[in-house]
Assembly symmetry: C2
Amino acid sequence: MLKQEVKDRFISIVGEENFVDNNASLLAYSYDSATQYQAIPDGVVAPRNNHEVAEIVRVCNEHKVPIVPRGSGTNLCAGTTPVEGGIVLIFKHMNQILEIDEENLTMTVQPGVYTKDVNEAAKSVGLFYPPDPGSQHISQIGGNISENSGGLRGLKYGVTRDYVIGLEIVLPNGEIIRTGGKLAKDVAGYDLTRLYVGAEGTLGMITEATLKLIPQPETKKTMLALYHDLEAAAETVSAIIANRIIPVTLEFLDQSTVKVVEDYAKVGLPTEAKAILLIEQDGAPEVVERDIEKITALCRENKAFDVSVAQTAEEAEQLTSARRTALSALSRLKPTTILEDATVPRSEIANMVKAINEIAAKYDLNICTFGHAGDGNLHPTCLTDARNKEEIELVEQAFEEIFAKAVQLGGTITGEHGVGMMKLPYLHMKVGEAGVEAMRNIKMALDPNYIMNPGKVFARERVVVNK
Amino acid sequence: MLKQEVKDRFISIVGEENFVDNNASLLAYSYDSATQYQAIPDGVVAPRNNHEVAEIVRVCNEHKVPIVPRGSGTNLCAGTTPVEGGIVLIFKHMNQILEIDEENLTMTVQPGVYTKDVNEAAKSVGLFYPPDPGSQHISQIGGNISENSGGLRGLKYGVTRDYVIGLEIVLPNGEIIRTGGKLAKDVAGYDLTRLYVGAEGTLGMITEATLKLIPQPETKKTMLALYHDLEAAAETVSAIIANRIIPVTLEFLDQSTVKVVEDYAKVGLPTEAKAILLIEQDGAPEVVERDIEKITALCRENKAFDVSVAQTAEEAEQLTSARRTALSALSRLKPTTILEDATVPRSEIANMVKAINEIAAKYDLNICTFGHAGDGNLHPTCLTDARNKEEIELVEQAFEEIFAKAVQLGGTITGEHGVGMMKLPYLHMKVGEAGVEAMRNIKMALDPNYIMNPGKVFARERVVVNK
């Protein structure tokens, strides 16, 4: 519960209409896309500019009120669940594209802009903002930055971090700083820009971002390769890279996922295939043509039983859209869908998928796997029911084994979804206790009152884990 | 002076032969490429592996002995001057390329590997490590990482940070952590990897790095465009980018630099030109051919009085080598060469070069300017004499004005050289007092005893600057 005094101060900063604490609103902001986590905030605040954000932060810092910055809540790690109460801060008024600078190839945005609008605005001037997280149609860029979102183009173009070159940040003490800028090079002190990208809102609030754009690729081609077994698909991935071709997209779907997606999207995906690769290349027409030819040959050499190149843009769009529906399609089947993103070096994909299947069998769970094979970024997805406590316990054990296996193979517990509350118990597996401690020290140095998105990434206190 | 007890412990860790404190050795490590700064260390230690590094760090942490990690000392910011004494830690025993992984396109290296050996090892298997700082023939990769070195290919390929995907770090408390990995995506907690890239050795010691490689471009072309005035050259840069072409290299040299370089390198550079652009494009042959044609046309449209494309690889190599000699050529002329790297959005290059010339005239200084026009990263270089105290004072005033102008134009005080001691007094201009304070808080959280490369990036204590 907020003290009346604090509530009054919020209202005096943002106006009556931009503070709500009725039950319906609080409920609406009590969960994100990791719906199995839920906690009711004490208020929802919609500041209109960076100075209002700074004033709110100062009040919260003074009164030790937790602040959860939130975009559209599409994150999959319970990164915006207000687990310690306090206020959820939303950016519905700070949703403008402030500038597209065609000379410096940058776009400056407020956090509340939808990712798809960033993409489209860039495209409208022949430029390209590559990151395309699955939720881009409804996600906001501020959330993408805080989660360092990935997507289907990571292999060739990298992730959100690689396109954020400047930030305006409200620090937990209410000071406003600006990092980076429209600069290809900047080494003035520590790289706060990249520290804040992916910090999950635990170090301060991003109120403006300058994004790097690149020229729009001239053309793109999409193809599909079907396999009777998983290993052959994984070997194809390795063969493509070994031949020094970096496709823009190299997606993998296992048979269970293909069946569900086809049932949902009806685009004619071959449900008899044990594994599918969806491959895209973009760039200059001659290069795309040549790469697609080479990739086709490599798929065949590696025992694809069918390889087809989309003949029209519509056909290509249909295939990639079908892949994008994977999560929605899967989540229709059971009350609860738990989507993970264990990630491994790409050479270990076959081993990882095999391990996932073995672990699913061991615990008798329904786990479908799809993901970004080129990045080694897999999305084992468990279809379950949060109300079935016994099964959920098994799911947790299974995922812990999956994370351990990923780390053992040189991978990580999360490739693009973030830690949030969901992977907090596993962070030490990847970075070690000393790594967690280093992160916690940074957190406490910048946010000594622990107001910024508390309960995410790592626990407030040091917990010694015996493992 | 080191206490005998501390010295004995160092010797017991690394062996007698790997600790030196004779005067000649101490003198050799008392300065780096920013030769106007000098300070004598108390010892030079050459550990043989990460565990020895960790043990040394523990001893230093216990006894509050400063540690300056040092590669070849080619940095230009007095980043490795042992200004508070203590030990210089060198990596002559930790100089191995540990692995080239062709499946995951990574190279794992120890910090003491020469940058050129990284480049060549990548090339030998058809891969490419793009960062190419001017000193790459003698610089070490550990130093490049700690300084986030740039180079001539930043426009298209980015800087060192963009190719470091995993680190082994010895923290100031002696703990060893590993960050990232052979992973295209990893969001497990704060991005310590990028925090340590460019941290100038102030947050811990890098003992191993995993670098991302990309396929070697198939071909490359080099061209030269000559101008009667600066604005036309700057407009060409803008026109190339506005036409959605991103060359790999887009270098600018002013007339004073051209004259000195030609006098030194004798490659037939046209000393009558007021400004020269050296442009390179790489990639697929068709694309390179087309881009070079378009760029040629754009140079002509923007009033280049001569445009020539190198006809052979040797000719091309000669041109880029000539550019690379700029610093050496300039430094022959006067006892002291002060090379700066004020950086601006590329659209502001003409304004920045004009401002530099005006400031040089105002203080009656000899400043030549060259640099990476495509990155907006300029190297105004002052030829002076450190023994002439009066002139040095003017030089300092001039550079302070140059930095202020760069920041006013949306730029930064350092694009690729780092802060070190040299730009410590100016950091607040770029990141503000609150930004400096945030960085200092991070430093103190990770290195509470202030042992790691003290006196660099920011002052130990908060200094309130009234400006």
